[in-house]
């Protein structure tokens, strides 16, 4: 169940205004600044929220299925087709699908960007380029709107806010391809790495694998979301440290429901048991969902617009003044020139 309407309550204590008198505060010293929260809330409810999530990973890791699972309402490209088909076909090109979801009066436009699996070929060099190009193209589109003389009231935001990177469940360590891919991606977008098809690992293997992955990420200077340097204060840091200790989340996806103990649950049925996707004893899908939707959605968007996008913008605008500069790792001929 999505809980988009949860906005933290902050109440400005009236006692702050009573410092001078030293006694109990009377109502007339209360200005009512906190009423602005309610106004913001109402506006946000009217406007709705936008979130763009991209899934990236090797072929066959269950990206499309996980997207369906994440939003239960079957938002991935396949849900448009008859749900009778069980087999998930292979994704062959980058496809953006938008869905409007509404819950408790809160509207959200969720865009899922499904990417074709990479790493299938014998020579996988540069397989990250199409995806890097896509991400940069979205920044470019936003930039073009922004620098327009007659700007739209609300610039449509197609920028990728978060990229879920799927790691194959080998149980050993990251592959050179994953390291290379994540290294490049982390420089332009928020990445949330997950261990895909985690039902292939026992709990011990999972813990060992996570540890190795974290070590490798550190050793290669790959900053995944939530990035340490963007922790705003001690409270933030505490919450984010807890998340950083759990990353990467070990997920299992399924858009099939089964009867378990009288309830209908999303899961995978095998001869030796049924894996319940939303059961945290089985896998960490629920943590991923909470991170993306319930707790960190706004933060993810903020970092995208104030950090990643700004970096792109600065590089791009500087380009016009200097000679050849490769913005965000994409060769220059991919970028469209523009006049300011």
């Amino acid at each position: 169940v999505l809980d988009l309407a949860a906005v933290p309550d902050t109440v400005v204590s009236p006692a702050v205004y009573g410092e001078k008198t030293g006694g109990p505060v009377l109502d007339f010293s209360y200005v009512g600044i906190d009423a602005i929260l309610e106004q913001m809330r109402r506006k946000a409810m009217k406007q709705g929220f936008e979130l763009n999530i991209m899934v990236v990973g090797q072929s066959g890791l269950g990206k499309s299925t996980l997207m369906n699972t994440l939003f239960k309402s079957k938002v991935s490209r396949k849900s448009v087709l008859a749900t009778a088909q069980e087999k998930i076909p292979k994704t062959v090109e980058i496809k953006s699908i938008s869905h409007d979801i509404e819950e408790k009066g809160v509207r959200m436009k969720l865009t899922v960007i499904d990417t074709p699996g990479f790493g299938d070929q014998i020579n996988n060099e540069n397989c990250w380029q199409p995806i890097m190009k896509f991400i940069n193209d979205q920044y470019e589109a936003y930039l073009q709107e922004e620098i327009n003389i007659n700007r739209k009231k609300r610039i449509p935001d197609s920028r990728v806010h978060c990229c879920i990177y799927f790691i194959p469940p080998t149980g050993h360590c990251l592959r050179p391809l994953d390291v290379e891919f994540m290294r490049r991606l982390s420089k332009v977008v928020n990445i949330v790495p997950v261990i895909a098809k985690a039902d292939t690992l026992t709990l011990e293997e999972r813990d060992f694998f996570k540890q190795k992955i974290r070590e490798e990420l550190r050793a290669n200077g790959i900053d995944v979301y939530p990035q340490k340097e963007f922790d705003e204060d001690a409270e933030d840091r505490m919450i984010n440290e807890k998340i950083r200790e759990m990353i990467p989340f070990a997920v299992v996806g399924s858009d099939q429901e089964y009867q378990v103990n009288g309830r209908r649950l999303l899961g995978r049925k095998t001869k030796w048991g049924t894996i319940e996707v939303e059961n945290i004893a089985h896998c960490e899908f629920a943590y991923l969902r909470d991170l993306l939707i319930r707790t960190h959605m706004q933060n993810i968007k903020d970092i995208t617009s104030s950090i990643h996008y700004e970096m792109y913008r600065v590089r791009r605008l500087n380009e016009n003044n200097t000679t050849v500069a490769h913005a965000n790792g994409v060769p220059e001929h991919h970028l469209t020139a523009h006049e300011m």
Partner: protein, 334 residues
């Protein structure tokens, strides 16, 4: 009484078998090999990190172990190929492997043509287990290319690794897809010979079942788990226990049965088909093979009888493993 005499002699001398294992990292190859032969072939193994993997090319690592059961000795060599498929660009990753296979053939050819043929050691690769990832959509280009590069040199047995990732339906679908792709690309995998008409019904049935299950979807484990009141080899998950030796859970037992009951056939096909192919190609190309210039083949029965007695550290023991030795093929060829 000839068959018995040959039988006794071979049993005394022991058998040798070389199994090659190929597949990308993390598919459970080592665990499976250890499970198959109930031994630990890789006691001091260190798995390298991603940075080291970038530097490395494909290595060949051969480990030999002596296994004995009921007086029958098996000298098993497992040839591992770490680094296969790890690099971002796997263009050249199998030239090392093919060279190794050819080298063993070359060596055998040289020994066979020599004057003193008492001590020929057969290090030729008799079988190659090719591990296919259960994730993904069937065979990858690398899988196809590799199998086609070696299917004329060695018996290829494709194996679906870590099969507990798949539900039953997914497994059936994948097997079907793989069989289709194997046919489509013209990959020649090892075919189990049909049971002879004079075999008993059980064996015929067993062969039928084995043939229908190819490619085998396996799970390996060296851990004992308590399940339903007894100890089984398996993997413990929060949602249940996967039993390695339960035919309803995976094809491990089938793979093991196939390997054991067809060990002789695998060696024969290597000798009669792959080696002979190599030999004729090699001789056509020319070049001297031995000091006296004669190239004489050995008959299979002769090879069977002329084995070295190996003195080795205390042999490992196999439990509950039925070793069916079909010797009459060799005797009939005499």
């Amino acid at each position: 009484n000839l068959p018995n005499q040959v039988h006794r002699k071979s049993v005394k001398k022991g058998f040798e078998f070389t199994l090659m294992v190929v597949g990308e990292s993390g598919l459970g190859k080592s665990t499976l090999i250890n499970s198959l032969f109930l031994t630990d072939l890789y006691p001091e193994r260190v798995i390298p990190g991603a940075a080291e993997k970038i530097e490395r090319t494909v290595q060949i690592e051969a480990s030999t172990v002596e296994i004995e059961e009921r007086g029958v000795k098996l000298r098993l060599t497992v040839v591992d190929t770490p680094g296969y498929g790890d690099a971002i660009n796997s263009q050249d990753c199998f030239s090392t492997i093919i060279s190794y296979i050819d080298d063993q053939f070359e060596r055998y050819l040289h020994d066979e043509s020599g004057l003193n043929r008492r001590h020929i050691v057969d290090n030729r690769v008799h079988c190659c287990f090719y591990f296919i990832s259960p994730l993904g959509h069937g065979l990858k280009p690398l899988d196809v290319q590799f199998m086609k590069a070696i299917h004329n040199k060695v018996n290829v047995v494709p194996v679906i690794a870590k099969a507990d990732t798949l539900t039953l339906r997914e497994r059936e679908r994948l097997k079907h897809l793989l069989s289709e792709m194997i046919d489509e690309h013209g990959i020649k995998i090892y075919h189990l010979p049909d049971a002879e008409s004079d075999e008993d019904e059980d064996f015929k049935e067993q062969t039928r079942i084995l043939k229908a299950s190819i490619p085998f979807a396996v799970v390996g484990s060296n851990q004992q788990i308590e399940a339903k009141g007894k100890k089984v080899r398996g993997r413990l998950y929060p949602w249940g226990v996967v039993e390695v030796e339960n035919p309803e859970h995976n094809d491990f037992l089938k793979l093991r049965t196939m390997l054991i009951t067809h060990m002789q056939d695998l060696q024969e096909v290597t000798q009669d088909l792959h080696y002979e192919n190599f030999r004729s190609e090699r001789l056509k190309r020319g070049g001297r093979l031995s000091s006296h210039g004669y190239i004489l083949p050995l008959s299979p029965a002769y090879v069977l009888v002329c084995r070295l007695a190996f003195s080795a550290p205390p042999p490992h023991t196999l439990q509950n493993m039925k070793v069916l030795i079909k010797i009459y093929h060799g005797c009939q060829a005499q």
